[in-house]
């Protein structure tokens, strides 16, 4: 019997053929991703691409596994690229990347299998444009944010101190300092406070120049735990209704802690107990001093190689976690707030979701079941499956897939790919010849539309200055999305155009092509099916195509890297919701 005899026998040949031929995109190689990759290979899938930060694997040599060590949000993974796949599978750990892949799959009209786990709980669902609910059809809880003044001046709970240690002080000293959103929050009541906070940050920058010196930790300590607190105390109004903070004094604690110079000792008993109990003031002090020295050494070392180097918060980095724990606890002490153990701080600072192998294995199995259903063209057999291993008498609970939410801004949208010469085509051309209802093969959107690129409006009825600008002048270049929203009275869905620059077209009088996946309730406007291609002739002399030497393809070349053998790839999984986001947000963890 051959390797795949079991699966061929159970699936039967026609479905098994589809399995061997279809192209799978797997996004994420954490707990679920690694299990899933293994299941896919064993189930006979032969064309798999994986996007993950890093992972090294070798499987059956007959299987083509292409690993992209990259962020799914990189420009190279555009709609065209997504369209190369038959099924996309998400094995992600954060909302932002999930939303991104959801959007790309809607735009590319590719089925997406979405999944997630938390402890004993898990969930798998299937998303297909126009047929099911998409990831954004139901609003997701947003991350809690805190007012700057709460974090910087008037903390009242442990999380405030942890956020201060992690987002403010750590970044000021070792990382990329956040742009202070202080001005945005300024009002009459807190103007004085904001001024003080700004000065605090400036002074800290001066101290930072002495990094690496013997007194560095002491200077930082005096600055943030003594001087800044004393300055805060001068704002008497603030403390009328609150318990005023009590500054700490470096020398006093230093005397108390006889082990001040051997701060590293505690690391030798870094067992569960040490991690899970609340440290004393002296312990916090020692860890604070020691971790600052460790982090300074590391940063200076890195800066020798790259002067721009910074350290990033990583909850699994012992030095960083020590620093955040000790710093948050010292601040908590000052403000009379409950202190937390290192174990607790890790969870609070890292937004850790408990993860276990068992749940991930089950979910990875269900994902493949759903993939088989998709390949058999039996979307009606796909279900949202919930695993609840803890409480319910049934382990798995199914729900039929819901239809799209009629007011969803992500999936109740027509997605088009528009190939056009962005150097020549103007906004007016786009509006009149492509969107305009009067034209024979226009998209029938009429004139009363709003055109947006990202958050900025390019055109609406009251703003038509840009009509004669070319796409390029409007910064609408290769890969950019623009959104067209019809006015309120229209029963049409908004349209999203993914723009690709193209210089030449097959026929002499063509000047653009459009491909689209059109939401079903909108098809009455256009007599095409969901995968339509419309090629248009050039209507006016102005649009005559001129061939130039311009590069046609501005796509960065995709770097492929074959995986290499590493049998230890399975580590205790790490499903985390990332908080240290920003534009560089990483999609997976190893």
């Amino acid at each position: 019997m051959s390797r795949t005899s079991h699966i061929r026998r159970v699936l039967e040949q026609p479905t098994f053929n589809k399995v061997t031929q279809c192209r799978i995109l797997l996004v994420g190689a954490g707990g679920i991703g690694c299990e899933l990759l293994k299941n896919l290979v064993l189930s006979g899938f032969r064309h798999i691409e994986l996007i993950a930060r890093d992972s090294a694997l070798k499987f059956n040599p007959d299987v083509e596994i292409i690993a992209h060590h990259a962020n799914i949000k990189d420009a190279q993974f555009n709609v065209e690229w997504f369209q190369r796949f038959d099924i996309v599978m998400n094995a992600l750990d954060n909302l932002e990347a999930r939303r991104h892949v959801n959007f790309m799959c809607l735009a590319a009209n590719i089925p997406l299998i979405e999944s997630g786990t938390e402890g004993y709980l898990g969930q798998v669902t299937v998303i297909k444009k126009d047929l099911t609910e998409c990831y954004d059809c139901q609003s997701k809880p947003t991350r809690k944010t805190y007012a700057v003044c709460t974090i910087r001046s008037t903390p009242s709970s442990p999380i405030h101190c942890i956020v201060w240690a992690k987002n403010y002080l750590f970044n000021q000293l070792f990382g990329e300092p956040e742009d202070e959103p202080l001005d945005n929050e300024m009002n009459n009541d807190n103007a004085e406070e904001i001024q003080i906070l700004k000065r605090e940050t400036e002074l800290l920058k001066e101290i930072k120049l002495t990094m690496g010196s013997q007194e560095y930790a002491e200077k930082v300590f005096k600055k943030v735990f003594t001087d800044d607190i004393e300055r805060l105390l001068t704002m008497e109004d603030v403390w009328k209704k609150r318990r005023p903070p009590v500054p700490l004094t470096y020398n006093d604690i230093n005397k108390l802690s006889s082990n001040g110079k051997n701060g590293r000792d505690y690391n030798n008993d870094m067992n569960t107990l040490k991690d899970q109990r609340i440290w004393t003031l002296e312990e916090n002090f020692n860890v604070f001093v020691d971790s600052i020295n460790r982090l300074s050494r590391r940063l200076l070392e890195e800066q020798k190689v790259n002067p721009e180097a910074v350290l990033a918060f990583d909850k699994d980095d012992d030095d960083v976690l020590d620093f955040v724990t000790a710093t948050a606890n010292l601040r908590a002490k000052i403000f009379g707030i409950e202190q937390k153990s290192r174990f607790q701080v890790k969870a609070m600072a890292g937004n850790i979701i408990p993860a276990i192998a068992t749940t991930n294995a089950t979910i990875a199995g269900i994902i493949v079941v759903q993939a088989f259903n998709i390949l058999r063209n039996r979307l009606e057999d796909c279900k949202t499956t919930y695993l609840d291993g803890s409480r319910r008498p049934c382990l798995l609970i199914n729900e039929s897939l819901n239809g799209p939410n009629p007011s969803c801004s992500q999936c109740r949208v027509n997605y088009y790919i528009l190939r056009i010469n962005t150097k020549k085509a103007t906004l007016k051309d786009f509006l009149e010849k492509i969107l305009n209802s009067n034209h024979e093969q226009g998209l029938a959107y009429g004139n009363e539309v709003t055109v947006e690129k990202g958050a900025s409006i390019i055109y609406d009825m009251d703003f038509d200055e840009k009509l004669d600008s070319t796409f390029e002048q409007l910064d609408i270049t290769n890969g950019v999305f623009i959104k067209v929203t019809p006015d309120d009275d229209s029963n049409q869905f908004p349209a999203v155009f993914n723009i690709f620059h193209r210089e030449t077209f097959d026929s002499q009088d063509s000047w653009y092509t459009i491909e689209g996946s059109i939401s079903e309730t909108h098809v009455s406007h256009i007599k095409t099916n969901s995968q339509n291609t419309v090629t248009e002739s050039i209507p006016t002399h102005k649009r005559k195509i001129e061939t130039t030497d311009m590069e046609l393809d501005e796509q960065p070349s995709t770097s492929y890297k074959k995986m290499e053998l590493d049998p230890e790839y399975i580590v205790v999984e790490d499903d985390i919701i990332m908080t240290e986001d920003g534009p560089k947000s990483v999609i997976t963890l190893d």
């Binding site: 079991h6 299941n39 089950t362």
Partner: protein, 538 residues
Amino acid sequence: MDKTQKYDRQLRLWQASGQTALESSKVCLVNGTATGCETLKNLILPGMVLAEKQSIFVDNNNKINIIKSNLYLGIGSFTILDGKTVEASDIGNNFFLDAESIDAPRAERVAILLQELNDDVKVITTDLHEKPLLKLSEILWNAKIPLIVVRTVGFVGYIRVVLPEHTGNVYFNTNVVETHPENISDLRLDTPFPALLEYAKTFDFEKIDSLEHNHIPFVVILLKYLEQWRNEHGNKLPSTSAEKNAFKQAIISGKRVPDEENFDEALAGAWKACSVTKIPSEVERIYNDAACSNISFESSSFWIIARAIHDFVENEGHGLLPLAGSLPDMKADTQSYVALQTIYRQKAKEDIASVRAHVHKILSSIGRPIDFISNQEIESFCKHAAFIKVIRYRSLQEEYITSPKKSEIARWIRDPNDNIVHYLLIRAIDQFYERYQRYPDAATLDEEDGGNESEFINFKSIVTRLFNDYGIKEIPSHVDDFIHETCRAGGSEIPNIASLLGGLVSQEVIKIVTRQYIPIDNTTIFEGIKSTSTTYSL
């Protein structure tokens, strides 16, 4: 990598006590099939290594013949019992086998490869001869060793948890202590104990300044207003919704400024404060169980502690369980929060001490040494005294022979969407194997017409006989498709179903080992085409 870091994510789920339980348990896998190995992998990854206890996995692709002594081999490690050698088809569906493994005794290869996953694990392989599952389960049942039976046939998976009613071994009873209730806060606001009342009285709501006023813990606020209410209402708690609203109004009127968070917390807790603390009736039944009344030398630690708590409730507890002693987060200054926390913890400690005294009295009355039950176990039990659960399983003997649930099964089978059909078909496959020493093979891939008809007829006759045994005279028409499907799948295990079942089964093992959450009672069938699962008590 130290253990705290390595196991960080799971420690957050089952705590150090769960991790200790896992690491000190031992697993024996009978047959290293794909599903078996997936299961073991899921147990090795979380660190299941050293052993004081042992459980058994059976994947009955082979018939099993285990002599009892095999179960005690390999202290501190996994045991895999398997007599088969590796075939090429095993490599396809079993991630833990590589091309070099072909023809090696399967158990040996599986052991070596599993060992690489976690250097804390040692694997022992044992040659194994085939004999029926029933015989094994009988041995295990008598030895009070938990058994989980797992099968995968094509798209169908089957899990049966077989645990004795209760056991003499503290680590192996069917009693789940830590069920992880969402909210174990037990504040005793309706029946405050003296230390709590005394502390509440130290707050003078009128005299303190506004900073102190908005830091009065909500527990104290509720106690004050409840006392006030009782004084005005003949010592009764607010009970009707009108009364509860009036009670809330009283709290609102106590605010000095509208945005006092601590008063808002008190309002949020007002409804709960008005309800009488009592023992949940299903928990009360456990404390009144015959196993609790008839404590003997054979009694497990669970029942001894349960009896001690029963005695506590009758005496010191004045009708209430020992206090859990935990306090939720609240708006308060550190000093009063810590003071309050200390008061609750102190009371919980006193209650535990009383229970411990009862435990020791019971132990000496049955001739057990005091250290038969650790203080830690008593503490953990007391903390979750309101959340214990007992499951009494049926044995496989009962299920198959002495009292099969014939009428239920005959009823369920009439529903075309019911998964019970797969239970019967998996049993039919076993019977087929027993007769022909192989699985049915109705379809070979070379045959265009999709199958070997005589094989199907042979299989169907076994199915018919089995259905007759369950009083099902006529096989419902919808069952025919499933018979075909099962016959075609034969003994095939497919990787994603193996992964899925491996996940589910290991989760059950972890629940049993850590005694957290509630294991299934007693059979789950998964059907991977519609991806439905059903749990039956068979």
